[in-house]
Structures are given as C-alpha cells and as structure tokens.
C-alpha cells in the first residue's frame, strides 16, 4: 500500500514537472515570437504594431545612451533619417522569474542613417511581464558591442 502511494506521488510529481516545463517552453516560444515581431515592425517603421507590445511606462535606453519613454521611442522609429535594411537577433536567451521574463541577446542592424550606411551589433536586455496572460515589454536597453 505504501509502495503504491509513493508510486502515485512520484507520477504526480513527474507529470507536474513535465507540465511546468512544457508551459515554460510555450511561454518562451511566445516571447521569442514577440521579439521577432518587434524586429520586423522596426524594419517596417510600424509603430502601431509595436505599441501594443509595450507597457505605457516603458523605459528604453538606446545604444548611444539616449533614454526614451514609450512615446519617444515610437516617435524615433518614424524618424526619416534612418532607413533599416536588415535587423536580426543573432542569439536570444530567455530566463523566467515568476511572472516576468528577461531576454538577453545580440542584435545586428544594418541600414543607412542620414544617407550613410551603418552596421551595428548590440547586446540587448528586454524585460517582459505577464499581464492577464499577455506578455508586455516594460524595459529595454542596448549596448554597442565594441570589444
């Protein structure tokens, strides 16, 4: 009887951990899809597509140290001086902390700025929080990779 009880408890624990792992994997896939959608929207300068991904209190620190709120960030995307040709995340690592997740990755951007071509590689950190089932980005920072 004791053996059967321990057996059941073991199976419940295994099933629970499998379910948690599967749920986390699903959430990770969702966040990575949002990151890729964000890149695509930046390339298209589609501020309307990006706005719902971000919290109204977003803190954004750009690669040159410029600090922006959500409105300023969305306005910066529409600026005519920059033309994005290619944006790609080279690597992304997601870590979960309860109802928040942190994505650390490397991002490569190619385009023209004031008519001059540029290529930048940046390491970024995006912090996402889960609100009523939806992931919202609350903070984002990029640093130029110069080493």
């Amino acid at each position: 009887m004791k053996f059967a009880l321990y057996g059941c408890l073991f199976l419940v624990a295994v099933a629970g951990s499998w379910q948690t792992g599967a749920l986390q994997e699903a959430q990770q896939t969702r966040i990575l899809a949002l990151e890729n959608a964000w890149n695509q929207a930046v390339m298209q300068k589609d501020a309307k597509a990006i706005a719902p991904l971000m919290d109204d209190e977003l803190i954004y620190i750009d690669y040159d140290g410029t600090v922006m709120n959500k409105g300023q960030y969305l306005a910066s995307l529409r600026a005519e001086a920059t033309h994005f040709e290619h944006i790609q995340s080279e690597s992304m690592q997601v870590q979960f902390f309860g109802w928040s997740a942190v994505v650390v990755g490397v991002y490569r951007e190619q385009g023209t700025q004031h008519g001059k071509p540029y290529v930048r590689r940046e390491r970024f950190v995006d912090t996402w929080v889960n609100r009523a089932g939806s992931w919202i980005c609350v903070a984002s920072e990029s640093t130029l990779i110069t080493h």
Binding site: G65, G98, S100, V125, E141
Partner: protein
C-alpha cells in the same frame, strides 16, 4: 564594527522580504534603491562578499563594451581591480515595480585608476531585481556609455 560586517548586516535586513511592508510597490522600490546604494559602496571597497549577497547566482552583467559576464566573472573582476574604483555615483531616473520584479534605470559616473591612469566612465544603467525565496536579488545588470 568593521564596515564590511556592517554592510553585510544591512544587506540582510534590506534584502529580506517582510510581507506586510512589501504589500505596496513603494516599499519594494525603496528596498531595491537602498540595495543599489550598497552595491556602489561594496564595489568601491572591493567587497566581494557583500556583492555576492546582492546578486542572484544566475546574474548576467552586460558591460559598457557589450561583453557579457556571469556572476563569478563579475566578482572576479571586482576582486582583481582591487581599489582601482575610487567613486561610483548613480542617480535613478526611473524605478518601476511589477509585482515581484523591480526595474531600476539611471545614470552612473565611475572615477578610478587603472594601470596608473585616471579614468572617468559615464553612462546609463538598467538593473532588474526579483524577489527570490523572500530576498531581493539582482538578476540582470547592463551599462551603456553615453555616445551622443
């Protein structure tokens, strides 16, 4: 009481979660800001033990040149630099609490000496703190120099 022991005692008091106090986000923000100040003092003094308590084991630290350091790599660097760092001043420009996650953004200014030469680094930082097993710990920290 030696200053380092005092610092560790303060970290213990601040990092521990007292549920009644943390019912509002303001209490969490205050605690995290106090831990940010202690971080600066500990780094100035090369107090690796105090920093070890502030950082989660999974810490990812992005330095101003874009390099990625783990907790042990960051602590080893602090230890190796000895008293090279003379003064760290930070100013918060935004603190937001999202339940058991707090994000702090701000400006930093680091004065120090390296290989006999004085340096001054200025930039922006963003640190993400989470409540783990009743303790506030930093899980991600990033620095970006001001280029414009």
């Amino acid at each position: 009481m030696p200053q380092r022991i005092w610092m560790v005692a303060v970290i213990c008091c601040l990092a521990a979660n007292i549920p009644a106090q943390d019912k509002n986000d303001g209490a969490a923000q205050s605690k995290v800001l106090a831990l940010e100040s202690i971080w600066n003092m500990a780094e100035e003094k090369g107090d690796v033990r105090a920093l070890d308590m502030i950082f989660d084991d999974s810490l990812l630290y992005i330095d101003e040149d874009g390099s990625l350091l783990s907790k042990s790599q960051f602590l080893a660097r602090v230890k190796a630099s000895g008293t090279g760092v003379q003064a760290i001043t930070t100013q918060s420009i935004g603190v937001h609490a999202y339940g058991e996650t707090v994000v702090v953004a701000g400006t930093y200014r680091v004065k120090g000496m390296e290989k006999g030469k004085a340096y001054l680094h200025e930039g922006r930082f963003m640190d993400t703190w989470v409540l783990r097993r009743g303790t506030w710990v930093c899980v991600v920290a990033q620095s970006t120099p001001v280029l414009h």
